[in-house]
Every structure is written in C-alpha cells, then in structure tokens.
C-alpha cells in the first residue's frame, strides 16, 4: 500500500472508474431533469467561487477541520488501532477549550493558549480511555472508542444545556468565549488562522510517520501486531502514546472550531457536520498514505460545499449531491481498496518450495 503503487496504478482502470462516475452522475442529473452544465458550474462556484472567494474560504475552513480529523485518525489507523472515536475526542476538545476560555481570567493570548492545550489534553484523555479499556480490560479499540463517543456527546449537551447555557440566546449553547481570544482572520480573507495550525500538524504528522523511530515502530505494529510483539516492540506503550497523539489532534480541531468558527460551544456543532466520520473516510480513501491525507480531506470539503452550491444554482437537491458523493466514494474506494484491504501477499514460492 505504498504511495508508488497508488500513483502508478493502471491509468486505464482509473479512466474507466472516472468514466463510470461521470456516467452515473449524468444519469442522476437526467433523472431529476437538472441542467448538467449549470449544475457543474454551481458546483465549482460553490466550492471555489463566491464574492471575494467567500465560498472558497468556506471550503478551506471546512477542509481545515476535516483534514485535522483525518490526520488524527491516520495516526491511529497506521498503528493498527481502529480508533473510530474521533468524534468523542473532538467533542471533548471543543467543549473543554470553550469552557476553559469562558471561565479562565487573564490575558487573552494566555487564555487562548491554555484553552487550546486543555482541549488537546481532553481529546488525548478521551482517546487514552479507549486505549486503557483495550490494553487492561480487553475491550477492542474499535468498540471502546466508538462507544465512548456517546457519553461525551451527552455530557457536552448537558453542560451547555444547563450549567453553562447562554440562556438569553435561547439556544442550547454556551456563552461566547471572550472576543479577544477569537482566532484572527488571515489578511484580506474571511478565513481564520486555524488552517495554519492544521498545516503545521499536517507537516508534523507526515514527518512523524515517515521519519521518526516512533512512527516507524507504530507502523510495524499496524502492519502486523504479532510481528511487532515478537520482535519486542513496546506494543502497549506504542498503543497508548499513539492514541494520545490522535486524541490531542482531535482536541485541537475541536478548539479550532470553537475559537475560529463558532466562538462558543453549540450543542451538536461538532457532531452534525460529521467531521470525524468524513475524516475517517478521507483517510481510508487514500489507503492511510500520510502525504495524501490533506489532499483527500480537501477533496471531501470541496464535494460538500460544492454540493451546496449546486443546490443553489441548479436546484439539484442536496440529497442528490450526497448520493453523488457516495457514488464517488464507492468508486474511488473500489479502486483504492485493493491497496487497502487486500489480504497480505502470500508467498507463493512457499508452496513451490515445500
């Protein structure tokens, strides 16, 4: 499942895949009688256009969160840890960072930094909980991390619905975090600097995956847990440390959503847009190859904002756009999954030499 295999791929097969995707999209359009040209144009402007590129900024803002979650998931998946609790870790990070910023007095920059770090710590702790359940109690990480999504969601709902609710707003949401702690926009555009933080995280995780001893060991564990155990890698330590890193990144994403976009914790704001799940799909789509993850994350953000644009421009219902997204994922996945879930190569010579 190396990058080379993926990129080399056979061109013909990819062409056929693309042809299928377009054929099905076209068929869907025909079915609902939407003008194809307008729809495409609506998609492109929805994803990249708008006045002063407002829609492009929306795409990038969404991409920031999706890529962040994808990087978080990638670390776990590459280490063979099927941590699908990104959502819970994201919520924990967003919630804790928002509450810290609301309650902690002090200079805004310090409050912001402490709040972000607290959010990362909360995400890490929530991920570690799933790790501890696996290592010491025997709950598989897949199950434990998934189930831990629910309590934290309800804890967050409760906290912003009761003790920390901004009652005057009439919504189920916390008070605003101090305005001075909001992440500033990049010069000239309506895009907060959260994207820079995620860019740094992307570089760090890619370097970590390819170049560090820890990343090397984690990947060996991901390729074969039995191998990692037999050659004496510290599997338990690797597991817990990797999960903590994953969770910390998810927590950071939650904090970015709070300080960059919503400026408070709104019930469901991190759950409904399915950031965590989109991140998982984005990682699987590129077979967990680190440097492709940001591109894949951007691709999904683009499809989502583009679909909204298509709805506006060509009156293609968003549901149809979502069906299209699913079609694209299925086809691309069917091309890539060979590299992803194919059984380990058998050494045929074994039979021959036996």
């Amino acid at each position: 499942m190396s990058a080379r295999n993926l990129m080399k791929g056979d061109l013909a097969a990819w062409t056929i895949t693309l042809a299928w995707i377009f054929a099905i999209l076209f068929g869907l359009m025909l079915l609902i009688g939407a003008p194809f040209g307008e729809a495409i144009q609506g998609f492109l402007s929805g994803a990249f256009g708008g006045r002063r590129f407002a829609f492009l900024m929306a795409t990038l803002s969404r991409a920031t969160l999706i890529i962040g979650m994808a990087l978080s998931v990638m670390l776990s998946f590459r280490a063979g840890l099927f941590n699908i609790g990104g959502e819970g870790q994201l919520v924990a990070g967003g919630l804790v960072s928002a509450l810290v910023a609301i309650m902690l007095p002090g200079p805004p920059l310090l409050v912001l930094v402490v709040a972000i770090l607290a959010g990362m710590a909360a995400g890490a702790a929530w991920a570690l909980l799933a790790g501890v359940l696996q290592v010491y109690v025997g709950v598989p990480i897949l199950v434990g991390s998934l189930l831990l999504n629910f309590p934290i969601r309800f804890i967050a709902s409760y906290l912003v619905a009761h003790p920390f609710r901004d009652v005057a707003s009439g919504m189920v949401q916390s008070h605003l975090v101090p305005q001075e702690t909001w992440l500033p926009f990049l010069p000239g555009v309506r895009l907060d600097i959260g994207i820079l933080l995620i860019a740094v995280v992307a570089i760090l995780t890619i370097v970590y995956s390819y170049r560090t001893v820890h990343g090397y060991h984690a990947r060996l564990n991901g390729l074969s847990g039995e191998f990692a155990r037999a050659v004496g890698l510290p599997v338990t330590k690797l597991t817990l440390q990797t999960l903590a890193m994953s969770g910390a990144i998810a927590g950071l994403v939650g904090a970015i959503a709070v300080f960059g976009i919503h400026h408070r914790y709104i019930d469901g704001m991190l759950v409904q847009p399915l950031y965590a799940w989109t991140g998982i799909i984005a990682v699987l789509l590129v077979g967990m190859i680190p440097w492709l993850v940001p591109i894949s994350g951007f691709f999904f953000a683009m499809i989502q904002t583009g679909a909204a644009g298509m709805e506006r421009a060509a009156e293609v219902p968003k549901e149809i756009a979502l069906v299209m997204q699913a079609v694209i994922i299925l086809f691309v996945a069917s091309r890539v999954s060979g590299a992803l879930i194919s059984p380990p190569a058998t050494d045929k010579e074994d039979v021959g030499d036996a």
């Binding site: 170049r211 060996l220 390729l223 191998f227 037999a230 050659v231 890698l233 190569a345 074994d350 030499d353």
Partner: protein, 505 residues
Amino acid sequence: MHAALHGIRVRFGPLVAVDDVSVDIAAGKILAVVGENGAGKSTLMNVLFGLIKPDAGRVEVDGRDRQWSSPQDAIKAGLGMVHQHFMLQEDMTVLENIVLCGEPVKWFGMVDFAAARRKLADGFSQHGIAIDLDAKVGSLAVGQKQVVEILKMLYRDASVLILDEPTAVLTPQEKDRLFAILRSFAAAGKSIVIITHKLDEVMEIADHVTVMRGGKLVSSLPLGETSKDRIAREIVGGELPPPIRAAAREPGNIVLSVKGLTVAGQGTQVGPVDFDIRQGEIVGIAGVSGNGQAELIQALAGLRPTASGVIELGGKRIEALHVPERRLAGLSYIPEDRQRVGLALGATVAENANAGRDDVGAFSRGPFIDRTAMARFARSLIDRYRIKVRGPASLASTMSGGNKQKLVVGRELSRETPLVIAENPTWGVDIGAIELIHTELMRMRDSGHAVLLVSTELDEVLRLSDRVLVMYSGLLSEPIPAAKADRNTVGRLMTSRSGDARQAA
C-alpha cells in the same frame, strides 16, 4: 457404499502434492490415512470430497466415475467430511446447526424441527449418542462440537465419512466416545476415513492403513498385515541426509533452564516440562505439530503467559518479563510463521531488518530514523545471508519464501544472543535456503551459543541436534543423545505414549 480414488495427482505450482495415489474405501470399514505433515493426506481427501480438483486420476463412487464441481455434489452423493477446524455457527443451537442447509421444510417454508428431531432420535439410539439438541453450540466442549459435526453427516445420511485429524483437540475420554460412535457407524455399513498421524489411534481403531510420504503412497495394508513399527518406519522413510556436524564438542554452562513449566494450551495444558540447554549445543524438540510445541515456544519467547514453573536465561528468571526485556536478556526468536510473525510484509526489507534491534541508536538520530543506516544494515544482512531481493527498499512481500526466511534468520542471528529459539526454521523453503539456515545454526552452536530447535521435520532435528527431546501430548520425553537418536526411536515417541516417554511427569 464403496468409494475409490484412482491414480490421483494434484499439483500446486511446481510442487506435486499428491502423486499417482489410489485408495480404496470399503463399506463398513475404517480406513486410516497416515503420514507426516505435508505428506499429502489432507489434499488427497479434499479431492475425494470435491474441495480440490485433481490434475489427473478419477473419483469412483459405487462403481461410477464422478466429477465433483463442488463439495455440494459430493455431499449429495453421500460423502461427508469433518474438517480439523469445525464449521459450526456458535450462536445457534445444536439442532439448528445440524439441519443447516438441509432443513426439512413444512408449509410456507417453515422449518419442521419436529421431523428433524424424530430423525435424529433414531440415530441417537442406534449409535449411543447423547447430546442436548437445544444447547447453544458455543457452550459445548470441543468433543461435543465434534459430535455435532458428525451428527450433521448422520442427518444427511452420509455413507462415507472423512475425518481430518479428528482427535487433535480431544481429551482421551472424548476420543474414546468418538471412536465408539465411529465403530457403530462402521457396523451400520458406513465407510469411515480418518486422517491422522497418531499411531496409537490407528492401531486402536483402523481396519486398513494407508501410509503416505511426500505425496506418494507408501503402503496400503489391512491392519493385521502391518505393525506399528513398520508404519512408523514408513511414515518417516528414506535415508537421513549426511550429518553436517563438526566434531562433537563439550557443551559449556547452562544458558536456558526450564523447570516445571506449564502453559495453558487450546483446551489442554502443556507441560509440565523440564529441560536445560547449554552453551555450544543444539537441543532439538521433535514432534508432530499440535502437541504443544507452539505453546511452549510462545511461553519461552514471552508471547504467551506461563501457568507455572520457572524459566531461567543466563541465571536470570525471565518468566514474568515482557518480550523486549527477554530479548535484551539474551534471546532471539525465529518464528514459524514468517508471513505474520517473522516479518511485516507491507514494510520494506530495511524496515524489517531493523525491527527489534537492541541498538536503536545505531539507526536513529534523536527521534528520527536514519534510513541510510537502516539500509546499510539491511544490505549487510542481504550480503551475509545471500538474500535475493532487489534491495533494502523493496517490500518484504516481494521476496520468495526462502529469502523471506533468510531475512528473518539473519535478523535474529545477527543479534548474537546467548540463546536462539528456532521454530520450524526451514518450513516450506527451498533446499538452498535450508542448507544456509542449517549451516548458520551450526555456526551459532560452534561459536558457543545455545540453540533450541523445534521442528516437525524429523530429519532436521536429527541432522542438527546434539540432544533430542520428543514432544507428545504436551509432554517432553527424556533427552536422547544424538548418537542414540535414530528415526525409529524418535518416530515411535512422536506418535505414541509408549517407549520411555515421561508420561507421568
């Protein structure tokens, strides 16, 4: 019913797994097919059952040539097979499992369980079977699960029953019960085929014995015309390859000492076992696979918890240590399964070569890996062990089996630890790789390392070992010095509890 195989030949690539074998399965008789691992017995029976299409030869049932396109055809024709690994739905009841795929149907497609019960009740009384039809299969003991498998065939009126290693996981009592049922089946006119390598059981139950070795039929005789010794000889057969041992040398201090070690195995207990290995000697553990060797090795390597007993490595107790600490204490491990345990196939040769090195500092700077140093080390292994691969950056999966194994052996032996554990180190590799691996193990011995060799290849054990232990049913025999270890002695211990095996220990 009478079934027969004529001139069956099966090839897997260049390997001829079954070579021109003919077998006759008579009604009302119990046929035992025996041989070493890889002798082709399971392959042969898979041909009879329609799981493998033969390249040559024909399957005959009741005088008619048959061509199976799938096992379904064979089942319809009255054949039934119980595989070594049970094919049962654990969450369903015994009755549901039995009628699965052969459900008696009432109106509207309802399953007529009452009819199924009536049908089974007849079989129960006839063959003396007792089982709770409403129990969940997952809650049954292994022996009872096997009964369920057999009932599945009884329910479908199979008249030829093939059982692949039926006693591998059974306790002696469960085995007795199974044999009673099989005898009763035979008396009712069914044909039974048992694939096994346990000679005691062959002598106990078979009417006719077919011995296979290296894919060929060695002999096929009524039990009365052969003997246990003769069968044991025929199983191992052939001449021993020339010994490559240099002059015997005086072994040094004890490196590994195992006292009263017991390990929980699959449904059984392995041990207690006691043995020592000294510097400069190879101790070989012979035995048919599945007699507890895997559990013992995993317990020594730290991959499986020990139940009781002491393991001392270089005078230090290691039974409570984790794998990394044990390796640091002076242990290397060449695992049997290079595909999953020995190598990470999705990683490169260099990444595999450097995994588990004690001197992480040699290929890292701070937290970063030094790919040049990793490649250099991999290159040294490639040259030293004559590994055929494009280079350190190639994926491990691109190597052939023999070269994969050489990489595993090279990585472990290059650590130069006092103790080397080699588990079937030449399983499924070509002659060249076998020679190289054997030579390297001998070199380790000669330079004063202690080597524990566990192998199901009797020849390999006899060729390399200074002392031989035989493992049977989770227990070890007394050590046999190389001079006294011959095929017959060891072969007998491998297949039965007789001889001077220390069974009470």
